[in-house]
C-alpha cells in the first residue's frame, strides 16, 4: 500500500476566461492532516469540487488510493472513500440529526428497493446497524443528546459537528473539511482542533481548507498554499510560514 493517498496531477479548471485552477499538482499522504490555504478566491473550494466530482476538471486529474478518480458522479467519489463538509453548511435541514448521519451510511450498506419493500430479515438487521453506528458517530462528535432534533434547529457549532459526523459515516479514507472553523469563536475552534486531531489519530486522513492560519499551522502536518489558482508552495508549516511568496500572497506585494 502506497504512502500516498491522493495525488492531484496538473488539475486545471476554467470558468469562461477565469482560470480558477492552473495546473495544480499536490500529494496528500496517508494519515496526515493536510492544510490547503490561500486568500479568498484562490481556488480552494474549486479544487474540492473538482475532487469530489461536482465539477469536471478541464485538465489533469486525480489518483486516489492508487486508482484514477472518475470524476463524473459525486456518489462514486464517496464510494471510493472521499467525504466532505461544506463551507456554507448544507445539512438536510428537515431531517433529524441522526437521520442526517444515517444517510451517510447509505454507501456502505446493501439493501435496495426490494429489501425496503419486503422488509426481510437482512434489511431489518441492516437498518438497526445503521442506526446504531449513526448514534456512535453522534457520540463521537459529542452531539448525541441532539440526535432526534431537526438538523435546522441545531446551533451553528453543532451543525458543523453534525456535518463532520455525516461525512465520517461514509467511512472515508480522506475527510475533506471546507472551512470548518468559519464563524466559530476561540473556544469552539479549540474544540474543533481536538476533534480533528482525534479523527487523524483514529486513522483518517484529513484535508483541511481553512482561513484561520493559526489553526492550520498548529494542526497540519503539511500545508499547501494556493494563489490565483496556482500552487505557491507545499511544505511543512514552519517552512510555509516563512516563505516570502506566501507572505506576499496574503499581504499583497
Amino acid at each position: 500500500m502506497s504512502d500516498i493517498l491522493l495525488e492531484a496531477k496538473a488539475v486545471a479548471k476554467h470558468f469562461g476566461g477565469v482560470k480558477a485552477l492552473r495546473d495544480v499538482s499536490l500529494t496528500i499522504r496517508r494519515g496526515e492532516v493536510y492544510g490547503l490555504i490561500g486568500p479568498n478566491g484562490a481556488g480552494k473550494t474549486t479544487f474540492f469540487n473538482c475532487m469530489t466530482g461536482l465539477y469536471i476538471p478541464d485538465g489533469g486529474g486525480f489518483v486516489f488510493d492508487g486508482l484514477a478518480l472518475q470524476a463524473d458522479a459525486p456518489h462514486q467519489a464517496a464510494e471510493r472513500g472521499i467525504a466532505r463538509t461544506f463551507q456554507n453548511i448544507r445539512l438536510f435541514g428537515n431531517m433529524t440529526a441522526i437521520e442526517n448521519v444515517m444517510v451517510g451510511r447509505h454507501v456502505r450498506t446493501k439493501a435496495g428497493v426490494f429489501g425496503a419493500m419486503l422488509m426481510n430479515r437482512r434489511t431489518r438487521d441492516e437498518e438497526a446497524a445503521i442506526r446504531q453506528r449513526a448514534l456512535e458517530l453522534l457520540h463521537y462528535v459529542d452531539i448525541a443528546d441532539r440526535a432526534d432534533d431537526l438538523a435546522k434547529n441545531l446551533s451553528y457549532g453543532d451543525q458543523r459537528r453534525l456535518e463532520i459526523a455525516r461525512a465520517l459515516a461514509t467511512e472515508p479514507k480522506l475527510l475533506c473539511l471546507d472551512e470548518p472553523a468559519a464563524g466559530m469563536n476561540a473556544t469552539e475552534t479549540e474544540e474543533l482542533r481536538v476533534l480533528i486531531e482525534g479523527i487523524r489519530n483514529d486513522g483518517t486522513t484529513v484535508l483541511l481548507i481553512e482561513h484561520d492560519v493559526k489553526l492550520v499551522m498548529g494542526l497540519c502536518d503539511r500545508v499547501a498554499v494556493l494563489d490565483y489558482g496556482s500552487l505557491v508552495i507545499e511544505d511543512v508549516p514552519a517552512v510555509v510560514q516563512k516563505d516570502q511568496r506566501v507572505i506576499e500572497a496574503y499581504l499583497g506585494a
Binding site: H75, F92, E99, V103, R105, H106, G112, T123
Partner: protein
C-alpha cells in the same frame, strides 16, 4: 341524512383510490419536481394486466380468488417494471433540462401508453371478473359492499407501508435527502439516479394496486380509464400540497368525499338542471380554487420556484 352518510362512505372508497394514485404523483414531484402525467396510464396498465392474467388463469381452471391474487401480483410487478422504464427511457435523459421539457414528455408518454394499450387490449370495455364475493353490509341506514371495505382497508395498509418506507428505512432516508438537496445527497454517497428510479418503482406499485381496485370496484376496465383518474389524483395531490405524502393521502380522501357529496346533491342544488353525471366538475372546481387561493395546498410548506 342517509344520503349524506352514504355518500361519505362512497367518497371514502373512491378517495382511497385517489390517494394511492396521488402518492405516486407526489413522490416523484417531491424528489425531482416533475409532474409525471403518465402516472394515470400506469394505473390503467395495472388494471388491464390483472384482467388478462386473472382471466387466463381462471379459464385454465384456477379458483377465482387465487387467480385474482396472481393477477394483482402480476399487475404490481409489470407496473414496477413500467415505472422503472418510464424513468429510464423518458425522464433520465432529460435530467437537467428546463422544467417544461420533461412535463411535455410525460404527456407524450401518456399518449403513447394509451395507444399501446389500445393495440394490445383493444378499444372495447373489458369486464373485470368479480374477485370478491358480493357481500353487502348495512350500517346506520347505509349500504356498502365487501369490495368497498377491502379497498379502504388495503389502501390504508399500503399507505402505512409507504410511510414506514419513507420515514424508517434507509431507502426512504435517501429519498428525503435527495428531495432536499440532490447534490449534497450524492456527495454523501447516495446514488440519486437509483433513488429517483426507486420513487418511480414504488409509486407504480401503488398505482397497480389502485388499478386493480378501480377495476374490481366498477367491474370494468378500458385503455382510457387512466386519463381521468390520473387528473383527479393529480388534483388530490395538489389539494393536499404536492410533494407532501400526508397531503396526498388527505387530499385523495377529501377529494373523493367532495365529489361524492357533490354528485349526491347536485340535482337538488340546481333544481334538477344538472345530474350526478356532472360529478367530474367538482374535482376541477376544487383544483381551480386551490390554485387560486392556496397554491401550496392544505399541507404544503413552500412551493417556491417549483410549479
Amino acid at each position: 341524512m342517509d344520503i349524506f352518510l352514504q355518500q361519505i362512505i362512497n367518497g371514502l372508497v373512491q378517495g382511497s383510490i385517489y390517494a394511492l394514485v396521488a402518492l405516486g404523483y407526489t413522490m416523484v414531484y417531491g424528489i425531482m419536481g416533475l409532474i409525471n402525467f403518465a402516472h394515470g396510464e400506469v394505473v390503467m396498465i395495472g388494471a388491464l394486466v390483472s384482467i388478462t392474467v386473472t382471466g387466463t388463469l381462471a379459464a385454465a381452471g384456477m379458483p377465482l380468488g387465487l387467480a385474482g391474487l396472481c393477477g394483482l401480483v402480476a399487475a404490481i410487478l409489470s407496473c414496477m417494471a413500467l415505472g422503472w422504464s418510464l424513468e429510464r427511457i423518458a425522464y433520465r435523459p432529460l435530467r437537467g433540462s428546463p422544467r417544461l421539457t420533461p412535463l411535455i414528455t410525460a404527456i407524450g408518454m401518456s399518449i403513447v401508453l394509451q395507444n399501446l394499450a389500445m393495440i394490445v387490449w383493444g378499444r372495447n370495455y373489458m369486464t373485470f371478473p368479480p374477485l370478491l364475493p358480493k357481500i353487502n353490509f348495512e350500517f346506520a341506514g347505509t349500504h356498502f359492499t365487501l369490495v368497498q371495505v377491502v379497498i379502504v382497508l388495503l389502501s390504508a395498509a399500503m399507505m402505512a407501508g409507504l410511510v414506514f418506507l419513507v420515514y424508517r428505512t434507509k431507502l426512504g432516508m435517501a429519498m428525503r435527502a435527495t428531495a432536499q438537496n440532490p447534490a449534497v445527497a450524492s456527495l454523501m454517497g447516495v446514488n440519486t439516479n437509483r433513488v429517483i428510479a426507486a420513487a418511480f418503482v414504488v409509486g407504480s406499485a401503488l398505482a397497480a394496486v389502485a388499478g386493480v381496485m378501480v377495476g374490481s370496484y366498477y367491474e370494468i376496465a378500458h385503455y382510457q380509464m387512466g386519463f381521468m383518474l390520473g387528473l383527479k389524483a393529480f388534483t388530490a395531490a395538489v389539494l393536499g400540497g404536492i410533494g407532501n405524502l400526508a397531503g396526498a393521502m388527505a387530499g385523495g380522501v377529501l377529494l373523493g368525499i367532495i365529489e361524492a357529496l357533490g354528485a349526491g346533491y347536485i340535482g337538488d342544488l340546481t333544481g334538477g338542471f344538472l345530474g350526478s353525471h356532472y360529478q367530474d366538475i367538482f374535482a376541477f372546481v376544487v383544483l381551480i380554487i386551490v390554485l387560486m387561493f392556496k397554491p401550496s395546498g392544505l399541507f404544503g410548506e413552500k412551493t417556491g420556484d417549483r410549479a
